[in-house]
Symmetry: C2
Subunit: 185 residues, 2 copies
DNA sequence: CCTACCGATCGGTAGG
DNA sequence: CCTACCGATCGGTAGG
C-alpha cells in the first residue's frame, strides 16, 4: 500500500515479464496492467522503461547476493559450501521472482554506464564462488580452479532456466547434486 | 547475385542481428539496411518478420548439424569424438555466422507450430551427443550419462557466448579442453 | 526490388 | 496515480 510497495510491485512484474518475453517485447503497458495500473502510471515511479530494467536487474542481483550469504552462513567445509551455494543459486534462478542471471542478458539494451554498474555488482556475486573453488582445488577436490571453471559452472547453472520445468522429472535438489557431482572428483 | 543468394544474405544478416540485439529490438529496416536493401524489400523474400526468424533458426540448426557430422567422420574413439564435437559446437557458436543455440532463445516470439518444428530439429542435433555420452559411460569415462549430464554440458557450451571474447585470454581450443576435462574423469 | 504509404502501437508527458 | 494525448517508429502492402 505504501509507495515503496507499489514501486516494488512494478519491479517484480517488470523483472518477470522482461525474463519471459524480453525487454523490447515487453511494453510499459504490460507492466502497468500486471500490477493494476493505467498505462502512464509506471512513469510516476520510474523515469523510463530503461530505468525500470536497470532497477530490476540491480534488485535481483542484491537479492541473489543476500540469499547466497545467508545460505553459506556457518558452513565451513568447502565441499558442503559449494553444494549449498549451487542449491541457493538454482533456487533464486528457478523459483525466485527475479531471475537475475537471465535479466542480465537484457542489459544489452542499456547504455554503457548502466552496464558497467551492473557488471560491478555481478562481479561481487562471483567472488565467493571463486573463493570456494580455490579452496576445493587446494584440498584436491578439483583439478584446478582457473577462471574458466567458474564460467563453465555458471553456464551449467544458468542454462537450466532454458530446460527446467517445475513439474518435470528433475527436482532442484537432483539438479544441484548432478552439477556438484560433475564438478567434484 | 541470384535470388537465392539475396535470400541467404537476408537470413545471415537477420540471424546476426537477432542474436546481437534480440528479435523484438531488431527492425526489418535494420535487416534491410544490413544487406543494402530498402525497407520494404525483405518482404519480397519473406512473408513476415516472424518467418525470417523461423527460417534463420532452421538454417542455423541445419548448418550446425552438418558441421557436427563432418567433424566426427571417422573418429571412432568416444573420448576423441566428444572432444571433436565440443570443438565443432564452439566453432559454430562463437565463430559462425548463425549462432543457432542463442537464436533459439528468440523462438519465444514464435507461435507454437514454429516452436514445435524447431524443437524437432534441435532434438535431432542432440542425438549424437547422447550417443557419445552413453558410450563414454559404458567405457567408464563418465560416472553416468543420464539426460541431466547432456543438458549441463550444453549449458557449459552455450553460456560461453555470454563471456567469450575473440581477443580474450582463452582460445577456443583451451575452452574446449576445459569442458572435456571437467566432464571426463 | 523500390516508392510511397498506412494503421497500429509504443514510450513518454501535461495537467490535474 | 489517472485522463487524455502526442510524436515517432514499426511491420507490412499496393503498385509498378
Amino acid at each position: 500500500m505504501s509507495e515503496a510497495s507499489r514501486r516494488d510491485d512494478l519491479l517484480s512484474a517488470a523483472g518477470r515479464l522482461f525474463v519471459e518475453k524480453g525487454f523490447a517485447a515487453t511494453t510499459t503497458r504490460d507492466i502497468a496492467e500486471a500490477v493494476g495500473m493505467r498505462s502512464g502510471s509506471p512513469f510516476y515511479h520510474f523515469r523510463s522503461k530503461h530505468e525500470l530494467l536497470r532497477a530490476a536487474i540491480l534488485a535481483g542481483l542484491e537479492q541473489g547476493c543476500q540469499r547466497l550469504v545467508e545460505a553459506v552462513e556457518g558452513v565451513d567445509d568447502p565441499v558442503q559450501r559449494l553444494r549449498v551455494m549451487i542449491r541457493a543459486h538454482l533456487a533464486s534462478l528457478l523459483e525466485g521472482d527475479c531471475q537475475a542471471p537471465m535479466l542480465i542478458l537484457e542489459s544489452r539494451s542499456l547504455d554503457a554506464v548502466a552496464r558497467a554498474e551492473i557488471a560491478a555488482v555481478a562481479a561481487s556475486y562471483q567472488e565467493p564462488w571463486q573463493a570456494v573453488l580455490d579452496e576445493l582445488a587446494a584440498a584436491g577436490r578439483l583439478r584446478n580452479s582457473a577462471p574458466p571453471v567458474r564460467l563453465l559452472l555458471f553456464g551449467m547453472l544458468n542454462w537450466t532456466s532454458q530446460w527446467y520445468r517445475p513439474d518435470g522429472a528433475l527436482s532442484l535438489d537432483e539438479i544441484a547434486g548432478a552439477v556438484a557431482d560433475l564438478l567434484l572428483r
